[in-house]
């Protein structure tokens, strides 16, 4: 028997699904048209606002765009992840809420919004409340320097690479805080593991970043992208006799570790630590950790694209595909690779994780940096 509620659902859901799919198509068009729109807005601001507040207004618009994107991206990413997982595992995944379950994330999000916000009685309430914000702030703030296209960057910092590395460490503090404040031994273990893991993996990450930096001679991400102009074989990953290719792999592995994804998801190891540092979280605070996780997934992929895969540069020498679209395509592919790995590989143990970092990745990264440094020396 079909209930009244189900009947209403059956009427509404297809309409919303179509709207969402059209919205997604619109979004792609919007991303493609971003340079034009940005230029338009910029000229509007130049024409109508007094000179003093023009840069502020432009930055503000950029920040609004990035925050808006980051709030919407997890909704897509969670649905996408569930679909990837499902098809890896020979099942369908969400199929009921809307067309192929596209509305599933909205339903989950609404559910999380209405959940009770529980704070452990014996926990440290202030730190407990603060921790998710720190984690999210760390993940979001790094987007300020990520270049989306030619001139499309919220803040064109000259020390962009350094800034991303520095701000990325915010997450470690937040996670440690969450683990401690929960007053739960499992959470504490998760927090400690996470701190050890993030601090260790920061080193090979930075070293591989430097491999690219010594070749460009600049920490500015736009300069790094500009140095890769001229088609597929000018991307850094294909240059330097394969050194950059190894650096790319090392960087991506470290990126997986920094975003706490399988095979490095020890801080939240479901089967050992029962979700680790976010065991005690519920409702929106819990959701914040997911916002941060998917945000940093995108960030790591985006950074890998900027550094090694040509950023917003296209495959061809001339820029036919709009920059933002090219960047998004490559980044989403790397996001997909992360999901693919997550649903294929088992998890490392904590000592193996450390051994992998200190015994393999750091020496390799060091060697790459030295060789790249020599090769990049001006004759």
């Amino acid at each position: 028997m079909i209930t009244q509620a189900r009947r209403i659902e059956m009427k509404i859901l297809p309409v919303i699904s179509v709207a969402v799919v059209l919205g997604a198509a619109g979004l792609i068009a919007f991303i493609a048209a971003l340079p034009v729109i940005a230029a338009l807005l910029s000229s509007l601001i130049d024409a109508n606002l007094p000179e003093a507040i023009r840069p502020v207004a432009k930055r503000g618009l950029g920040v609004a765009a990035v925050v808006g994107f980051l709030s919407l991206f997890p909704i897509f990413a969670i649905w996408f992840e569930r679909k990837v997982a499902a098809h890896t595992q020979d099942r369908l995944g969400p199929m009921r809420v809307g067309w192929h379950g596209v509305l599933q994330s909205f339903a989950d999000g609404i559910k999380l919004l209405f959940k009770e916000d529980i704070i452990p009685a014996e926990g440290d309430a202030i730190l407990f409340r603060l921790a998710p914000y720190l984690v999210v702030a760390g993940a979001f703030a790094a987007f300020a320097v990520l270049p989306w296209g030619d001139g499309l960057v919220v803040s064109d910092l000259d020390i962009g690479v350094l800034y991303i590395v520095a701000i990325g460490s915010f997450a470690a503090i937040g996670i440690l805080m969450a683990g401690w404040a929960s007053n739960n031994k499992y959470s504490l273990f998760g927090g400690m593991r996470s701190a050890a893991q993030l601090v260790s993996y920061e080193i090979p990450t930075v070293l591989t970043l430097l491999v690219v930096v010594v070749q460009v001679g600049s920490l500015n991400l736009q300069d790094i992208v500009a140095a890769q102009q001229g088609g597929l074989f000018n991307w850094f990953v294909f240059r330097m006799y394969g050194i950059n290719a190894i650096a790319f792999v090392v960087f991506f592995i470290c990126g997986l570790a920094e975003t706490n994804r399988t095979p490095f998801d020890l801080p939240e190891a479901e089967s050992e630590l029962v979700a680790g540092f976010h065991t005690e979280y519920s409702g929106m605070r819990f959701a914040f950790f997911f916002l941060a996780e998917y945000g940093s997934m995108f960030l790591v992929s985006g950074l890998a694209v900027v550094l090694f895969l040509g950023g917003w540069q296209g495959v061809l020498a001339s820029q036919i595909v709009p920059g933002p679209l090219s960047f998004m395509t490559k980044t989403l592919f790397l996001v997909f690779v992360q999901m693919w790995l997550r649903w294929t590989l088992p998890r490392l143990r904590v000592d193996q994780l450390m051994a992998m970092c200190w015994k393999y990745l750091i020496p390799i990264a060091f060697a790459l940096l030295v060789v790249a440094g020599f090769l990049a020396l001006p004759n």
Binding site: Q89, D265, S271, E272, W343, P346, R347, D351
Partner: protein, 389 residues
């Protein structure tokens, strides 16, 4: 701590030395609601950082008074209780009980019943090992093999549902026979299942068994040396994982197992010392292949007959006692049934393999890391329903 609050507030800054740092062990209660303890097991871990100094299992959260219940219902009435002992290997449990009572009454069942019993026991072994192998993947952090395993386990459960109407707790093995004869088309469907199932095992091998991370995680932890395995009297895949060729199906054949051609896989120590978690895990994978072989043979020889031919009108054994053991998916399960000549058993005692396996847990868990504790519990393949009874 050596510094008090007052000291911290005093003028002179206290100097911390490494000797002042306090080291302490932490007690971590793992379970009974922990997702990886395979039921309601509580393990009390004394940890020093990530290293476990001592692990003490606490059982009894699933105690349902099986043995006392058995003293209050008639002989066939015990079978559903026996089903509920090891709820992922019900067929093997009720089979053991039915065989014990038959031994007590001196009933000889016909060949068809024997063959059907072998069939369902081996299908049950596949279903049980699929659960074990799949959840072991989850314990190590790989989620995907679990769902591939469960997809095929569902097929076995579908076969059982077709056979007797139940998916998990069957009440299928009666004293003197089985409850239903094989339905039409069941044999063909089983043959199809076995054929396609071998591909699933290959899939599991590719995804999990020989994955580098997986072997690194499991092949060096939870070592049970052969001497320890024997001295603790463990059995089943856990014993064979330590390299000892012991299988009741070969040593004390029942249901005509002596007429089937199959191997007993033992631990190979391929990736580490003998008796590791990986060896135990891989013995289960290999056993599934052997079960397929047995099922093929049983399907090929299935004789005609009436499955209710020897079912007694009233199960009323003469005064006496009987002890019989079989090889269930988890190991050596035995029932000891004492009759006082009445309709109700005087005493039913179950010798459950998992209970014995749990007794050596503290030995192999000592000095391992927290993540390894999960790996060890998973590799022992315990079912709490059988431990607590």
């Amino acid at each position: 701590m050596s510094t008090t609050k007052q000291q911290l507030w005093s003028e002179e800054v206290p100097s911390f030395k490494e000797a002042d740092l306090e080291e302490d062990e932490m007690i971590l209660q793992m379970g009974p609601q922990h997702p990886s303890t395979h039921g309601v097991l509580r393990v009390e871990l004394l940890t020093d950082g990530e290293v476990v100094k001592q692990a003490r299992p606490h059982i009894g959260y699933l105690h349902r008074n099986f043995e006392k219940h058995a003293e209050n219902v008639d002989y066939p009435g015990v079978i559903p209780f026996a089903d509920r002992m090891d709820y992922v290997g019900s067929m093997a449990n009720s089979l053991t009980y039915a065989l014990t009572v038959e031994k007590l009454m001196g009933i000889q069942v016909n060949e068809r019943v024997k063959t059907i019993r072998v069939l369902v026991a081996e299908l049950q072994r596949i279903a049980s090992h699929l659960l074990s192998v799949g959840t072991y993947g989850i314990d190590i952090g790989a989620f995907t093999p679990f769902l591939h395993c469960f997809r095929d386990r569902e097929m076995v459960l579908d076969l059982f549902e077709w056979l007797c109407g139940a998916r998990l707790l069957y009440n299928y093995n009666w004293v003197g026979g089985v409850s239903h004869d094989l339905p039409e088309g069941w044999v063909e469907k089983s043959r199809w299942f076995v054929d396609q199932f071998e591909h699933t095992i290959d899939e599991v091998d590719e995804l999990l068994s020989f994955n580098k991370i997986f072997t690194k995680r499991t092949a060096t932890v939870g070592i049970i040396p052969p001497e320890m395995a024997v001295s603790y009297a463990i059995s089943g895949p856990n014993l064979r994982g330590s390299g000892i060729k012991w299988d009741i199906r070969k040593e004390e054949p029942y249901c005509g197992y002596e007429n089937y051609d199959f191997e007993i896989p033992i631990g190979t120590a391929e990736h580490g010392p003998i008796g590791s978690c990986w060896d135990r895990y891989y013995v289960r994978v290999l056993e599934m292949r052997e079960s397929c072989k047995i099922i093929r043979q049983a399907l090929a020889r299935l004789p005609e007959g009436d499955v209710h031919e020897h079912v007694p009108k009233r199960v009323k054994p003469a005064k006496g006692e009987a002890y019989l053991r079989t090889e269930t998916p988890r190991g050596e399960l035995a029932y000891y049934v004492v009759s006082d000549g009445g309709l109700i058993p005087f005493r039913v005692k179950g010798r459950s393999p998992c209970f014995v396996h749990m007794s050596l847990f503290h030995e192999i868990a000592r000095g391992e890391m927290i993540a390894d504790i999960i790996a060890i519990i998973g590799s022992l393949d315990i079912v709490l329903g059988e431990i607590d009874r």
